[in-house]
């Protein structure tokens, strides 16, 4: 870490300044995380008393539960497909806004609005638009009765939450792709134009390779976000159903821990999810130095 050459040396003041943050981080981050670890390896006896050490028992219970694997599978499908959609659209829009044709400011201005909308609000809006008996998509049911019904069909429900999640993430991707594109020196693109390459060719052979670090960074952020922030959309839109078709990991932790009151099982699942997120983040930090520096 690069520090300042000139510094103050009143140590007690430095400690005092950082103390509030450290207290909060300790009470609301390190303690709970540690406690989750503890719970994951213990069980509360049914008739009260101290927590009993059970080793890997909770993890084995979780791992042997087909419902857990169901939720992992659904989460992976959800995360990968909404990441692909959101990044694809975000990149396409950024590439074309970056051409700076007349009116591009207007598009740029509007394209990141969805980022401000709360996940449950997105969920509720999409639930209406894609409702089987109201809204718009239900029109196809008039021609093909029963074709679309997210309340009964698991695949439809999955499509619904994936689209809702992708919609809310497009804006974030757009902002970062555009920033990445604009940090490319104009002279490079101009040189390509002088050599006679067309707009699309320049996109493919000059701009896209140069924003590869942004792509990588965004993949990690999108996947992590889909794993972590899916709760609002799922809870409002499908409630994990139908028949657990959209029972994503955070939603399952919530329902096992707070509805089922099984802290140990929920903690074991939390630890697995934490491991996954840390792994993804580590991956990102490892490549962080390759990232484009913006502004």
């Amino acid at each position: 870490m690069s520090g300042k050459r000139v510094t103050f040396d009143r140590h007690w003041l430095a400690l005092l300044l950082i103390l509030p943050q450290m207290l909060l981080v300790f009470v609301f981050f390190y303690w709970p995380t540690g406690e989750a670890l503890f719970w994951a390896f213990t069980l509360e006896p049914p008739f009260g008393g101290d927590m009993q050490w059970v080793g890997w028992q909770n993890f084995i219970t979780v791992m042997e539960d087909p419902l857990y694997w169901n939720s992992v599978r659904r989460s992976v499908v959800f995360a990968l497909s909404s990441t692909a959609i959101a990044m694809g659209i975000g990149m396409l829009l950024a590439l074309f806004v970056d051409r700076e044709l007349p009116g591009y400011r207007g598009f740029r201005f509007v394209f990141f609005w969805p980022y401000a909308v709360a996940a449950p609000a997105v969920g509720l809006a999409f639930r209406f638009i894609f409702a089987p008996d109201a809204g718009f998509v239900s029109a196809i049911n008039q021609w093909f009765p029963g074709l679309w019904n997210p309340a009964l069909d698991g695949v439809d429900a999955m499509i619904l939450i994936t689209l809702a999640n992708a919609w809310s993430m497009v804006a974030y991707n757009f902002i970062f792709f555009l920033a990445g594109l604009q940090s490319i020196p104009r002279s490079l693109v101009e040189a390509g134009a002088m050599d006679g390459s067309g707009v699309l060719r320049r996109m493919r052979d000059i701009q896209l390779p140069l924003i590869a670090p942004t792509v990588f960074f965004l993949i990690v952020i999108n996947v992590t976000d889909s794993f972590v922030n899916s709760f609002g959309i799922v809870d409002i839109t499908t409630g994990g159903g139908p028949a657990r078709a959209t029972d994503l990991m955070v939603f399952k932790i919530y329902s096992d821990g707070f509805k089922g009151k099984d802290y140990s099982l929920a903690a074991a699942q939390s630890i697995i999810l934490m491991g996954l997120v840390v792994l993804l983040t580590f991956f990102q930090f490892k490549y962080v130095e390759r990232r484009v520096h913006y502004t």
């Binding site: 520090g3 932790i253 997120v277 840390v278």
Partner: protein, 307 residues
């Protein structure tokens, strides 16, 4: 770039317009649905032009969902998280960047690691801590045997009072502040401040607090605006955490209220989508306005966040 590509320009505009439709249509539909009456909103497909029942729907929704007090709660929470974050972030980044002491790197890493695990993945134990925020200290005292020691010496055990944070603003706000986002934004900014500034200030005999208050803070206004916008949007839109911490409706937030207005056969109610969409619109509006009016700061905050 000067080149003639009329066909491609047409395609560019076409793609951008399609993108605009995809991103704005849901918002437009929410708005349109909120302006129709019960019968119209349930026709398939719904009309794409606003109806005449806007005011009436909004009044019904506002009263029925008690959005007055709920929005106030959301506002308290969002402003609390935003100010708390800015203050703590500025102070701790100042401590890490402008002082040299041994624990500096330890603190740096302790804060850095919190970037890895968002609140959602450690939700269960965090909830348990919120039930009594002083419990970690009590258990440390117990484990260290301090309590037994004072019992032995003075006949008194150390028992900390319970700090119950469920159903309180503190419970809504504090856990959301305990992350590193803002600290890093500030650290990055402090590192770009020229060294000469501190040298000059020191030569003039300025103390650390004075330097912070009179020189660094005014310089960091842009940074503060960026952090404030993203934190406001982030905290206003919180859903899972308030859902857990709040059971007393008096502390309910606007976003939580969405769960109550979901129409559907589940609740055996008629699908009052016009009310649901009016509620959705009201809940999404404040952060949307912040983003629209603070666009420049918002984008800067997002991109420099360096998650």
């Amino acid at each position: 770039m000067v080149e003639r590509t009329p066909l491609l320009n047409l395609l560019t505009h076409a793609i951008l317009v399609v993108g605009l439709l995809m991103l704005m249509l849901p918002l437009w539909i929410v708005f349109v649905a909120s302006t129709h009456d019960f019968r119209t909103v349930n026709t398939v497909p719904m009309p794409l032009w606003p109806g005449a029942h806007m005011v009436e729907n909004y009044v019904t929704t506002w009263n029925q969902s008690q959005f007055g007090p709920k929005m106030l709660n959301s506002l308290i929470m969002a402003v609390g998280v935003t100010t708390g974050k800015i203050v703590l972030a500025a102070l701790s980044a100042y401590s890490i960047v402008y002082f040299r002491y041994r624990l500096r790197m330890v603190f740096f890493w302790l804060i850095f690691i919190t970037l890895m695990l968002p609140l959602e993945v450690r939700i269960v134990p965090t909830y348990a801590v919120a039930a009594n925020a002083l419990r970690p200290f009590q258990e440390i005292i117990n484990v260290l045997g301090l309590s037994a020691l004072t019992d032995l010496l003075f006949g008194v055990r150390i028992v900390l009072p319970e700090a119950q944070l469920l159903n309180s603003y503190a419970g809504l706000i504090l856990p959301l502040i305990a992350t590193a986002t803002g600290t890093f934004l500030y650290r990055q900014f402090f590192l770009t401040v020229p060294e000469e500034l501190l040298e000059a200030a020191k030569m003039d005999g300025t103390g650390p607090l004075r330097f912070f208050w009179d020189i660094l803070l005014p310089l960091s206004k842009a940074n503060m605006a960026a952090l404030a916008t993203i934190m406001f949007v982030y905290s206003w839109n919180q859903y899972l955490w308030p859902l857990l911490v709040v059971t007393d409706p008096a502390y309910g937030t606007a976003v939580m209220q969405l769960q109550r207005i979901v129409p559907g056969p589940l609740f055996g109610e008629p699908p009052r989508w016009h009310i649901a969409m009016a509620g959705t619109l009201m809940v999404m509006l404040p952060p949307l306005l912040v983003v629209v009016f603070m666009q420049r700061w918002f984008v800067r905050g997002l991109i420099n966040q360096d998650k």
